[in-house]
């Protein structure tokens, strides 16, 4: 992944309608006012985008209340997946519900929630006419505290003889079995069961850990039974509540005072974490999952930039700092095992990237692990569309991982349906961010899931590169590019000189010229200086390319050929080169030659001459000389670019 500034230049801003979503520095009150305004104007898509953005930036209880109420106004206007969720509970869940609805909304889910009464979960399940069944949920969550369903194993444990405790454990497991069976008689909805939490510390302290029939041993036994129960039934799932609490820290998870006050056992800071755990089940149940994760390469899959740092310079290994990237690779492989495809979208020369992917010893993922790749200098948004097409999945099934926050914003604005994973600038946190993302959760695994990537790799080898070329052409036509090509004039002199001074990436010789020098060269007959201006369906890019040539006998040498990174990868260079060839031919030249002088930054131009049919003439320490025989050249302006040429007044 090249330097952020360079990446900035290379991006095409597609989403003119969504640029509002990109503004990042509103004060909180302004964002809310903006949303209210959109709602008042009936602009539901904009309200929705702004609401999601608000929730992303301010993820807390207060904002959840705001989001949930505005959602009520929006829900019927948007293509959200509707889902009816029922709670069977022994504790207060109401304060968590606005957060749950906001998180669900962020995943494209519109939740309608029914909450049963306190501790009536058994009646709700066994009574065929209960409010639970009348609600007809798509899923029910059985959220019961261990203290409520198994007092003999928890609060009263010290009073129980070992035999009585063992019997209590068996009784609890049997009860759950009966409830599941009863539930299934009345409903085919999914059932998510909170597993029991082990009290911390255990009733008898460290003594408890020394046998399997201590308090934690018995509770684990019950949980094992619950897990067996879930796997034996279709649509019954276990939520490992103990693991959830442990992850966030048992000492801070509970709030004894709120429990006494309001039967809310969970502290304010962790209501969000409870909501997010429920979401991990709702996402796969609603199918709002990601089927493919598209990753960037530079500074995402490895530390550093392969095009600049080379194989020896990039960081990916078992030691710091490369270890962070290996951890990410392991997270990606875990996704693969669940049937999630991996793909690459990277601005790089293909051979540089492939060499690292195939040969770098630190890589734990190889080319074969990726079902699709777009490694080129083109637009990332277009790459993502093409990847979705190639893999035959919807754009909304993609997730995107890129270290560059600007790239992430661009993709978010242009393709709001994609899940863009937020990561910090610290690679040590990348793996966790991927693992934490709910769109990768799955509740079932099939044989196809496990072989999916291999199937795609096979398919890719069969169909080859033709597929992607066709799509590229469609993209170029779609752009509706129009270019004005003319010799340098007084008006364009400053800009032409500026481009020679500023342009580093797509620049074959990187020769820097002042305005005075350009003016001087343009006066000489053997020198020709061309500029090209480009417009497309999204706007005017201005003067973005310069070519300077010098005639010497039958040979025309390209002294300078450069293109602003704004228009790399759209065949504008082909149009400019074709015109140079034609005008050189018209002037009586037989050969067109040009040097490529490599620098740290001009990798994008390295294959320019080769790709346009030039032959390597000479190679030395400075670079490579390329030659095109003008008589046999088939170079032409691509037909998807409308080229307007202004000839010079004086010709030979």
């Amino acid at each position: 992944m090249p330097h952020p500034k360079i990446a900035f230049c290379a991006i095409l801003v597609w989403a003119t309608a969504n640029t509002e979503a990109m503004s990042s520095d509103h004060n909180p009150p302004n964002r809310r006012a903006e949303i209210e305004q959109h709602l008042a104007d009936g602009k539901f898509d904009r309200a929705s985008t702004a609401l999601r953005e608000l929730w992303r930036r301010e993820t807390n209880s207060a904002t959840a209340a705001f989001v949930a109420t505005r959602l009520d106004q929006l829900r019927d206007q948007l293509p959200l997946t509707k889902f009816k969720l029922a709670f069977l509970r022994s504790f207060t869940v109401e304060p968590i519900l606005p957060i749950l609805r906001a998180e669900a909304f962020a995943c494209g889910i519109d939740l309608e929630i029914h909450v049963g009464d306190f501790n009536t979960y058994v009646q709700d399940i066994v009574d065929a006419d209960s409010s639970l069944y009348r609600f007809a949920p798509n899923a029910a969550i059985l959220a019961v505290r261990a203290e409520d369903v198994a007092p003999d194993l928890t609060i009263n444990f010290a009073d129980r003889s070992p035999e009585a405790a063992q019997q209590a454990a068996a009784r609890v497991a049997r009860s759950y079995e009966q409830w599941v069976s009863s539930f299934r008689q009345h409903s085919q909805a999914a059932l998510i069961i909170h597993a029991l939490e082990c009290p911390k510390p255990a009733s008898l302290g460290v003594l408890d850990s020394q046998s399997e029939s201590g308090q934690s041993g018995l509770i684990r036994q019950v949980n094992r039974e619950l897990r067996r129960l879930a796997s034996a039934q279709h649509g019954v799932y276990l939520l490992d509540y103990d693991a959830l609490v442990a992850r966030h820290g048992s000492e801070h998870w509970h709030d004894a005072r709120k429990w006494q006050m309001a039967r809310l056992p969970i502290a304010a800071d962790h209501l969000l974490h409870m909501a997010r755990e429920w979401i991990r089940f709702l996402v796969p149940l609603t199918g709002r999952t990601a089927k493919c994760l598209v990753v960037d390469l530079d500074n995402t899959l490895w530390g550093g930039i392969i095009g600049e740092d080379g194989m020896a310079g990039i960081k990916v290994s078992a030691e710091y700092p490369g270890a962070a990237f290996q951890a990410l690779h392991r997270a990606l492989l875990d996704l693969s095992r669940k049937g999630i495809l991996l793909a690459i979208s990277s601005k790089n020369n293909l051979d540089d990237a492939m060499e690292a992917l195939e040969k770098h010893p630190g890589m734990l993922v190889r080319a074969k692990d990726f079902a699709a790749m777009r490694i080129n200098w083109g637009d990332k948004t277009q790459n993502l569309r093409e990847i979705a097409d190639e893999l035959n999945i919807g754009i909304d099934s993609l997730a995107f991982l890129d270290d560059n926050p600007f790239e992430r914003e661009q993709v978010r604005a242009a393709l709001p349906e994609i899940t863009v994973i937020d990561i910090s600038s610290n690679p040590l946190e990348y793996a966790a961010a991927v693992r934490d993302c709910p769109v990768f959760e799955r509740l079932t695994l099939s044989a196809e899931d496990q072989q999916r990537t291999a199937m795609y790799a096979e398919q890719r080898q069969r169909s080859g590169a033709e597929q992607s070329f066709q799509t590229k052409e469609d993209f170029f036509r779609y752009l509706e590019q129009e270019a004005d090509l003319e010799p340098v004039t007084d008006l364009t002199l400053a800009r032409v000189a500026q481009l020679t001074q500023k342009t580093n990436q797509f620049n074959v010789t990187t020769r820097r010229y002042s305005e005075a020098q350009i003016a001087e060269m343009s006066k000489q007959r053997s020198w020709n200086i061309f500029s090209i201006k480009v417009r497309d369906r999204f706007g005017d890019h201005g003067l973005v390319g310069v070519a300077i040539t010098r005639d010497e006998g039958e040979q025309c040498e390209i002294d300078t050929f450069l293109l602003s990174c704004r228009v790399i990868g759209r065949t504008v260079e082909t149009a400019l080169l074709a015109h140079i060839a034609k005008s050189a031919t018209d002037r009586g030249c037989r050969r067109l030659v040009g040097w490529f002088l490599p620098t740290k930054k001009n990798a994008p131009a390295r294959d320019f001459y080769r790709q346009h049919g030039f032959a390597e003439q000479q190679k030395n320490d400075a670079g490579t000389l390329w030659m095109l025989d003008l008589k046999s050249s088939t170079l032409s302006v691509p037909d998807w670019i409308k080229l307007n040429v202004t000839e010079t007044a004086t010709t030979r």
């Binding site: 004060n27 909180p28 009150p29 209880s61 904002t63 209340a65 705001f66 109420t69 709030d255 304010a268």
Partner: protein, 88 residues
């Protein structure tokens, strides 16, 4: 979970949170706003308000302190004194 924007006073932040939770415009809330004067402010919302404040200011409110939250102004004062006792 921080909001962006300039530094606000404790009362401003309390009011902003109350506005979201109670579903009324911040401009209509004042230091004197109380459950008696705001229709939406029932015991359920009071709990939600408490939780949002605990989350925002990283503190825990005891039942006695929650009882003292009779108006938004009193709430802000309570929070200020707690923050001064142990700065966040």
């Amino acid at each position: 979970m921080k909001n962006e924007g300039e530094e606000l006073s404790t009362f401003d932040e309390v009011r902003s949170i109350a506005s979201d939770i109670l579903g009324v415009p911040a401009a209509s809330l004042s230091a004197a706003s109380a459950p008696a004067t705001i229709e939406n402010w029932d015991s359920v919302q009071h709990l939600n308000l408490v939780l949002a404040l605990e989350e925002k200011f990283s503190l825990q409110l005891s039942p006695e302190e929650i009882d003292q939250m009779k108006t938004l102004g009193a709430t802000a004062q309570l929070i200020d004194s707690k923050l001064q006792a142990s700065p966040r």
